[in-house]
Amino acid sequence: MSASEVQTFTPREFHRQAHDALGNPQIRANFRKAMDGLMAKRRDVFSDWDLETLRELGANIRLRALAKLPDLLERLEANCQANGIQVHWAENGDEACRIIREICQRHGAKAVIKGKSMVSEEMHLNAHLEEAGIEALESDLGEYLVQLNEQTPSHIIMPAIHLNTDEISEIMHTRTGTERTRDVDTMTAAARAQLRERFMAADVGISGVNFAVAETGTLCLVENEGNGRMTTAVPPVHIAVTGIEKVVEHLRDVPPLYALLTRSATGQHVTTYFNMISSPRKPGEHDGPNEVHLVLVDSGRSSIYQDDELLDTLRCIRCGACMNHCPVYTRVGGHTYGTTYPGPIGSILMPHMMGLEATKDLPTASSLCGACGEVCPVKIPIPDLLVRLRREAVGEGRGNVPGAGVKRTKKEVAAWKGFQWLATHPGVWRSSTAIAGKLQALMPSKLGPWTEYRTAPKPAKVSLHALVKQHKAKRHQADKADESGEKRS
């Protein structure tokens, strides 16, 4: 799409948005090419690893952290405070926005520079700050482009993956006056120059967190561009914002998760930068912020935590491999989902944040092919969780997801009850399959959406049940004939 069009997306319009994306050759090509590349890179980088053992380790580290979550959060808070990091708790996105805005206002901030943070996207932090007269500028290159284009990220790791070189050139030209070019280095250099000035002028830097280490009070930040380091080191105040599930127990838990994260996400052995933030600037140090804040956001996470099955959702380390490998995401792209987190992880996470009423089409937007669960570095059983949310949506779950039961309709319940009755009455089942075969000619050649793209399957004239009966009868006769033959001889 052109740089001047502003489109908004909502999960309520998944079908329409999917229709539009499927009909957009540029979107199709951009995602297919990018996802093929990411899948190949991941496969190659893990080729000489015992991946199953590493995934098992990663899953266990995350399970252990979640098992001790309340305790670890308290230890994280205490150790961060001992390091001089100020810790804030936010029950929801609005509260987190308010906390961050108040810190900014206390420092008279007019401009903040942001490192990449999906949690800040989740709470629409930029819009909130803008309303308070504080300009928030994204410094991750992809986020910067998306912000220039007045869009939202289409991927959690590569926010501008839906754009190709020409589109990016056009956006930079229209929004920043950069000369049109197809040379990526030229564009990157231009963006770098534009951002460098803003780093120097920013009053506050805001970042996310990849791993928060409870035993040491350390905030780990994984990135490639150096903007994360600039965001957290240059402005006088650094605010880190993260979901409460990002805590791990030990520092030694970080290397395996980091090894899994970078390889699963972008196929890299390591990222260019790995930041460990453990305090504000100490006396005698020459750089670093004077204040460091950590804002821990719940936003529905503790409600997910209450359910021993859905809890697995919180293992996620946000690598994006599930979307890279998802045949649905690959075809419709990230915006189609209309949610902060798209793809399989979004479909199991967003119903908790937005309710099933708004997100009811997401858990079904999967063929349950299992590719997401197969590549998940912490072994989240994503397909099982999709099925669990389908249960919740039709009112046959445990009822602890907002909007549970919203998809339950009399018509569909009647259909499944009918299926149940038929499939538990074998005699009726056999005669109805026989009837279907006999009435073959009367079968509609149009079966709704199926036959727009495929021919309709034709019921066989004789069912397998009947064929087996005939077959057994023949064999029985043959055996009898053999027996009598034997007797005669």
Partner: protein, 251 residues
């Protein structure tokens, strides 16, 4: 990861769970599976009271209904014989999801016991029967689409191709993105028809690009989807259940 499975020696008898799709649309594929087993000297018992494994209701979230249907199938296999299923999708449902579905219910122990005896047909032919195949067909190229449930849920990405490799006149060609879903996904094809259509379109293009004029699959859901797409476009690529293909060329 699928745990290492120790396969039993070839038994005298097996149960055959034909699946509802085969019962209704592809009964010959079921018969060919039975014939392949009988040729190995195995008596095949087909319980006439079988209907459906319950998967359509299960994946749609209607677990009470799925459980009732599945419970009716649990009664069909009283003897300790292996249960052979000519579908990775239904096999995966019975092996993986029956234990989940009946956990904490009165049927739990029986569901686990039945699940432990479930074998997908190609798995059984390869690992239990150690099937030998004498290919009497003409030389030809064939593509195979292994269903996602056979590949990922049951860990059987290689059993179909391994059987085809025993066919002297068959050249197995691999389509691009062979491990990607064909877009069937049961009710997915109905709930998200356009996305499903885009997926099957890519799958048919990839198969066609191999130059093979025939593809085989071990799941009739995928077969109905992929072959239905080829037929809709009037393409001269035909599909077949792998059981029929193996039987036809070796009988």
């Amino acid at each position: 990861m699928t745990p290492v499975k120790l396969y039993p020696p070839k038994p005298e008898k097996v149960y055959f769970f034909g699946t509802c799709l085969i019962d209704l649309f592809y009964p010959e594929a079921g018969m060919d599976g039975i014939r392949l087993l009988e040729r190995e000297g195995i008596e095949v018992v087909y319980p006439q009271a079988q209907t459906c494994c319950g998967q359509p209701a299960y994946t749609s979230g209607y677990h009470d209904e799925a459980r009732a249907v599945a419970a009716a199938q649990l009664d069909l296999f009283p003897e300790p014989w292996p249960i052979v299923v000519p579908s990775g999708s239904c096999g995966g449902m019975m092996r993986t999801h029956y234990p989940q579905l009946f956990a904490g219910t009165e049927h739990e122990a029986r569901a686990n016991e039945v699940a432990g005896r479930i074998y997908e047909l190609t798995e059984f032919l390869l690992h239990v029967c150690q099937l030998r195949l004498e290919d009497r067909g003409q030389p030809e190229k064939v593509a195979m689409h292994t269903s996602c449930s056979a590949r990922r849920e049951m860990g059987l990405g290689e059993t179909g191709p391994a059987l085809l490799a025993r066919m002297g006149q068959v050249e197995l060609v691999e389509q691009a993105r062979a491990t990607e879903c064909c877009g069937f996904g049961g009710t997915f094809a109905v709930r998200h028809p356009e996305v499903s259509a885009a997926m099957v379109e890519d799958k048919t293009q990839a198969i066609e690009a191999t130059g093979a004029r025939r593809f085989v699959t071990s799941d009739c859901g995928c077969l109905m989807n992929i072959a239905g797409r080829f037929e809709h476009q009037g393409k001269a690529v035909s599909g077949e259940h792998i059981a029929s293909y193996l039987w036809r060329r070796t009988s």
